[in-house]
């Protein structure tokens, strides 16, 4: 039995269906992420797990027990809010002691529990500080310590890193992974940031318009997106759509307007004429000034239209004679060398059939 089971949960606000018949299961000790753009229903789903909102249909089970009758204060889950929601009139210690007092933990036991929680988030010695005396990252850690001190069954995190700057976000991501491993409590993490989701999670549910588009491990989500939405939302991706020209059993050929036939390794039941999409990550495309010496599976010519120097990599947008635009990427591995091509350069693009991923829509 899974720790948390969400069975056919639906939540409507007037005409708007925020969560549409969602089912999923979270295992004990798992770092589970709900990923999607704003308005996809991920936060509504999290609030229903916490108890701040109730489903219009479906059930939420924790350890097999239906949570519907339990108000938030009686659910053994804790939330880390995006705004941290630290109590401004209490010290760090007061904030962390709050859930212990609510749970009637004996006063003699509290001190040790608080110290352990502060140690977990590396804030030992900050007991007497007030929230306004802490940095954003420290506040976030206090919020986590406060949520973990009562050893909840599950921790819900609502975009906890969104308010922090990029460098700090990376540091805290690593700390979050380690912390989750240490405490062994299941984390349900809500974010719109696909980088965060890929880096942190054991499994990701990609949500769009209230539904789960794909639920899988990060590498599967990135490498084998099931829908166009997932391919587009997770990282950068070229999406070549068109009618299927041929299906050889293990290789499908899609006739892409402006580009030509694109061959991709796939086992699909789709026959000629059905529409399909080839998802191709920019970094999988080989670009060069001269024609490749081998005979690659896919090979096109084009002209560099735009380029974006990003420091570690340079992104080239290559236009084909037919009018298609392909996004490619080259690592700037040689120091001092910013770019290999200029706008207007003619380039050759090629990739093997295994580089792409076929989506049946």
């Amino acid at each position: 039995m899974a720790l948390l089971e969400i069975q056919g949960v639906t939540r409507r606000f007037g005409d708007f269906t925020a969560v549409d018949d969602v089912s999923l299961a979270v295992e004990a000790g798992e770092f589970f992420t709900l990923l999607g753009p704003s308005g996809c229903g991920k936060t509504t789903l999290l609030r229903m797990i916490a108890g701040f909102d109730l489903p219009d249909a479906g059930r939420i089970l924790l350890n097999g027990e239906d949570l519907a009758a339990r108000p938030p204060e009686l659910r053994p889950v804790r939330t880390v809010f995006q705004s941290y929601a630290l109590f401004p009139h209490m010290t760090v210690e007061g904030n962390i002691a709050f859930p212990l007092a609510m749970a009637h933990v004996p006063a003699g036991e509290r001190k040790a529990r608080i110290e352990a929680a502060l140690e977990d988030v590396r804030l030992t010695g900050f007991n007497r500080r007030y929230p306004h005396e802490l940095s954003g990252g420290q506040r976030q850690r206090v919020a986590i310590a406060r949520a973990l001190v009562t050893h909840p069954t599950m921790l819900l995190l609502d975009e906890p890193l969104a308010a922090l700057d990029a460098k700090l976000r990376e540091d805290l991501s690593i700390e979050l992974i380690n912390l989750q491993k240490e405490v062994g409590i299941a984390f349900v993490y809500v974010t719109h940031d696909q980088t965060e989701a890929l880096a942190l999670s054991h499994r990701i549910a990609v949500m769009n318009r209230g539904r789960i588009e794909q639920l899988d491990e990060p590498s599967k989500i990135y490498g084998f997106p099931r829908t166009r939405f997932v391919a587009d939302f997770i990282g950068h991706c070229n999406l070549f759509s068109g009618p299927v020209a041929a299906n050889a059993g293990d290789v499908v050929t899609v006739d892409v307007g402006g580009l030509g036939p694109v061959r991709v390794a796939a086992r699909s039941a789709l026959g000629s004429g059905a529409s399909g999409t080839v998802a191709l990550r920019p970094e999988k495309i080989r670009i060069s000034a001269s024609a490749p010496e081998d005979t690659p599976d896919n090979h096109y010519r084009g002209t560099v239209q735009d380029l974006l120097y990003m420091g570690d990599v340079t992104v080239y947008r290559v236009g084909t004679p037919g009018g298609a635009v392909v996004e490619t990427l080259l690592a700037n591995s040689q120091s001092g060398r910013a770019k290999f091509f200029e706008v207007g350069d003619a380039v050759e693009m090629s990739w093997p059939v295994a580089a792409g991923h076929f989506i049946e829509e």
């Binding site: 108890g51 701040f52 929601a85 630290l86 709050f98 609510m102 949520a147 009562t150």
Partner: protein, 321 residues
């Protein structure tokens, strides 16, 4: 408006120190001139209408009352300066005056307490209502100010009068339990009811201003951490509203302490408060020095209490900043 201009003399003094005399500070620096221009008129107003009268009152408290009221000449026939502490001694030695003071403080305390109990739910309701109704509700709170203070007090005479429905209902209910009829009007009860009525808006408004700023997120967090409705109020909402409570308490307590119109009109013979006593000294007994002493004691008491409220409030605010 006159924008502050750099003082050419000051500028020269800086660039050529040899011409300026050592230790001389340029007077009338532009920034300070502007400051005086802005703060001068209100300062003058306060000096003329507050500081000066207070000084006159302090001086009067040390003088002797004239035979038929008012003040005896400052310099008597023998040419001696007639200043004494007789009135202060009288206040300190006759316990009746201190008793009136304590009674006034008691009424003011009860008024503050009842105002707080009534205003807190009301302010919460207004702060939690939608923006559309909020303005209407706030308007209703200040609506009583649109009619005259005395008229509102006289209105209470009618409401509490012996022939009004309220008195008949109360005395009818008492008769059922075999208790005798009680007068509502001209009693401490009437004074307290009206004191609360008059001062309620002064408690509602600062409380509302505070509660309106509270974040729902904190209450959500408290609930998530296991707090029930009562614990959320008592541990989160109430402590965070303390600056508003202190402000409201000061705005109610201090004017309630010195009020005289309400006990005059609605109170019984035993409901003489310090405000009435002061009024009596000046208008009826015409013992100006003693009236001054009572006024000074009242002012000092109010200032001390306001100081305490401000100090406690600031201590709370600095913790929440």
């Amino acid at each position: 408006m006159d924008a502050p201009r750099p003082n050419p003399l000051a500028a020269r003094a800086e660039t050529k120190p040899s011409v300026s005399r050592a230790g001389e500070r340029p007077r009338n620096r532009p920034s300070s001139r502007g400051k005086w221009l802005v703060s001068g008129p209100p300062l003058l107003y306060l000096i003329v209408f507050f500081a000066l009268p207070t000084l006159i009152m302090v001086l009067a408290s040390f003088r002797t009352p004239a035979e038929f009221g008012g003040l005896a000449p400052l310099v008597d026939e023998t040419g001696r300066l007639d200043l004494n502490v007789d009135s202060y001694v009288r206040f300190a030695t006759e316990p009746v005056f201190l008793r009136v003071f304590v009674k006034s403080a008691g009424y003011a305390t009860l008024t503050t307490l009842f105002c707080l109990l009534l205003a807190y739910p009301l302010a919460t309701l207004i702060a939690n209502s939608s923006r559309k109704y909020r303005d209407v509700l706030l308007l209703l709170v200040i609506l009583p100010f649109w009619s005259n203070f005395l008229i509102r007090i006289y209105a209470w005479m009618i409401i509490l009068g012996p022939n009004a429905a309220l008195a008949k209902f109360v005395n009818g209910a008492l008769a059922m339990f075999g208790a005798g009829p009680v007068p509502l009007l001209f009693s401490g009860f009437a004074v307290l009811v009206c004191l609360v009525y008059v001062h309620l808006p002064f408690m509602v408004l600062p409380l509302y201003a505070n509660l309106e700023k509270h974040e729902q997120g904190l209450l959500d967090a408290a609930q998530d951490l296991g707090a029930n409705a009562w614990q959320r109020f008592w541990r989160i909402t109430f402590p965070l509203s303390l600056p508003g409570v202190y402000a409201g308490a000061a705005l109610v307590f201090i004017p309630a302490l010195g009020i005289f119109a309400i006990p005059d009109i609605l109170g019984g013979p035993d409901d003489t408060l310090i405000g009435n006593l002061i009024k009596q000294q000046f208008l009826e007994t015409r013992d100006w020095p003693f009236g001054s002493v009572l006024s000074i004691v009242l002012t000092v008491a109010a200032l001390v209490l306001a100081g305490i409220a401000a100090w406690v409030g600031r201590r709370g605010a600095s913790r929440h900043a």
